[in-house]
Amino acid sequence: MRIERELMRGAGPVAVLKLLERGDMYGYELVDALSKRTEGVLDMGQSTLYPLLYNLEAKGLIESQWREKGLTRPRRYYTLTASGRERLSEDTRQWHSLAKAMKGLGLLPPAFANGGAQS
């Protein structure tokens, strides 16, 4: 299932920040991880991912560097910055509040919302 553009616009950045919280990743790896971990819901092509990454970089939430050592080809790795961590923390709180509100409205099953809030 593909989600609407407007929802993607809000969910995409925080999803990328969340993935980078666990460690540095490069573009293809991010696309792949997003697709697999969201079961294709947040599947995004290059045309969406790279502008998103450049925007996060312009805002200072992530930074990048090319790495070649020990690799078959040069890759540009993205790293979460301190500002990015703060932003992720804030966004996470907001998403939890949003999920709670959706649950109250009956848009989310109780178990889903509770599980989302605890993870």
Partner: protein, 649 residues
Amino acid sequence: MSGTPSLRRKGNSGVFADWLTRDLFAPFLGDPVAVVASSGLPESLRAIVTRVVRSTRLWRRERSEVARELVSHFAEGLDAGRSADELESDFGDLASAARLIRRAKLRSRHWSWHTWRRACQAVALALIACTAAWCAFAVPYFSRAPSIVRNFAAEFNASIAAGPGERVAWPEYLTALREVASEQMELSARRLPDGMASWDCRSPRDDGWDETRAFLVRHAEAVKSIRRGASIPTMGCAVSNAVDPGLLEVIKLRTPSSATLFATAATEENPMLVGVLLPQLGELRMMARLLSADLHRAVEDEDAADAGANLSAMIGLATHATQSQFLIGDMVGHAILALTMERLLETLADHPGLLSDDNLRDLAHCLASFAGGGRLALRLEGERAMFLDVLQRLYSDDGRGDGRPTHSGMWNVMWSMASDGSAIGPFGPSRDSAVGIVVGPVVAAVSASRREMLREYDRYAGIAQRQHATPRWLRTSRAVDDAIDDATVSLSYRVRYGLLLTVFPQLDRTTEAIDQVEQRRDATLAAIALELHHRRHGSYPSSLDELQPGLLPTMPVDRFDGKPLRYLLREGRPVLYSIGADRFDNAGTPPETGREDAARQWQPATPRPLRDGPGAGKLPSPPPSGDWVLYPPAKGPPAKRVPESNMDG
């Protein structure tokens, strides 16, 4: 510390080269095409990268970075076992990708680039706005043309023309001028300090009087012609942009070079009033001075008839000057009248028995009835017509009395107003100068409209007339000057009404000059009455009341306090005086020598700083202590001839 030896090894030129390549030119370095070409990707994927990267329109380095990352992405996909077609379909919309990448990359550029970009955008917007505004202004400015419907010169000439068969004075004056012109060049070489030629000498006390006297005797016929002309009610000199042919002949006799200058102007059917020539005014002043000199000759010869005739003729000349219909004509007429009264008072004081009773009565009648009698009017019809004429030549006409400045009108008016024939202001030396074309529409847009301009003119003229109607002793300020000063505090007003401020006359000073002439006239009438009283009773009256009503119908008023003009007897001789500008009665004692004139210059109780002249911005000097003695008139020191070595020609 490792950087320091490296710097030392490279030297300054190496560091500079690094700075150039790394920082200054870095955005323009890089080769995105080479990155894609050497990627080893299938053709379809290379085409995607190339198209996206090119569409971003970023700097070369940025495009290289993007290309490198996209290539890497596709390579990872291929390594992961995906086909080129799958990767191509997963990519998404190329145009959208390029647009979003560009937007994100621009956002990450340095703040100085954003500042520069904003500044460029602001300048571009301002230029576009200015250009649009200029076009909006320019269309009406260049497309409209003035509509010249009134011929003010013709209207003036119709009103001053002689009736059928009526004689006019101008031919008599030309006869006199032609006769004296031949000697004028020779005599004008011998000048007095005030620039007058020697035949212009004011009195027998002046250096060169003998020559003047001989000149007058030689040209007695010319003097008679002037007297004849002055006795004719209508002068008959037309308003024109060209010099009268008869006068041109006189000018040729005097100074051939000047004649060449004047002769170049062709007579226009509807000349612009601002550009009309009034050379007759200068000639009238000159003839008045000639009669003044002949009055001295007549007094020396005890020739009462000639003396009286000269004085009457001088009043006639003054009347003719006022027939020009322009304010300047009135001012010249008043100046000639003031000279006449000064000579009459001198004659009464120094030779009280010379003029007959009839002479004195006639002169009193002429003076009292000058310009219709009573108060001298502030006539602004000519000035207003001049302004209306400028407006009709400069502005378009919407048929309802309104309009905007036009290109052709602006050019024609500016050209006509330039005294030396060169264009003035931003309009450059030619009609289609670039500056004039660019600035003209803007000037037209910010200028007041035709109706606004005329309304403002009439407002100031109304203030001037009310000021003139207010007796001098009741005035507290220079109303017109103050109104203009108050309005011109605003820069936008100065810009909007620049034309009006340029051409509007100094009416407060004009009113004050008229006041002075009236004060002199009242004193002269009183002096004549005193002399006639003395002849009848053998003594002067103890007060002016005794002259009323037979010899002096109206009690003269001191223009500085509204009380009767001061009168006293000193050593058996009468003295008439005004308390003067200091508004204090000094018992008929004038100010210190050299400041006599200042006693008659009215000043408001709380004067404002001077608007122009050498003392601009400063408060005027306080009036001197002393009275304005009107009778007997003060005698200045005799004029001395300027040594030839000091003459400037």
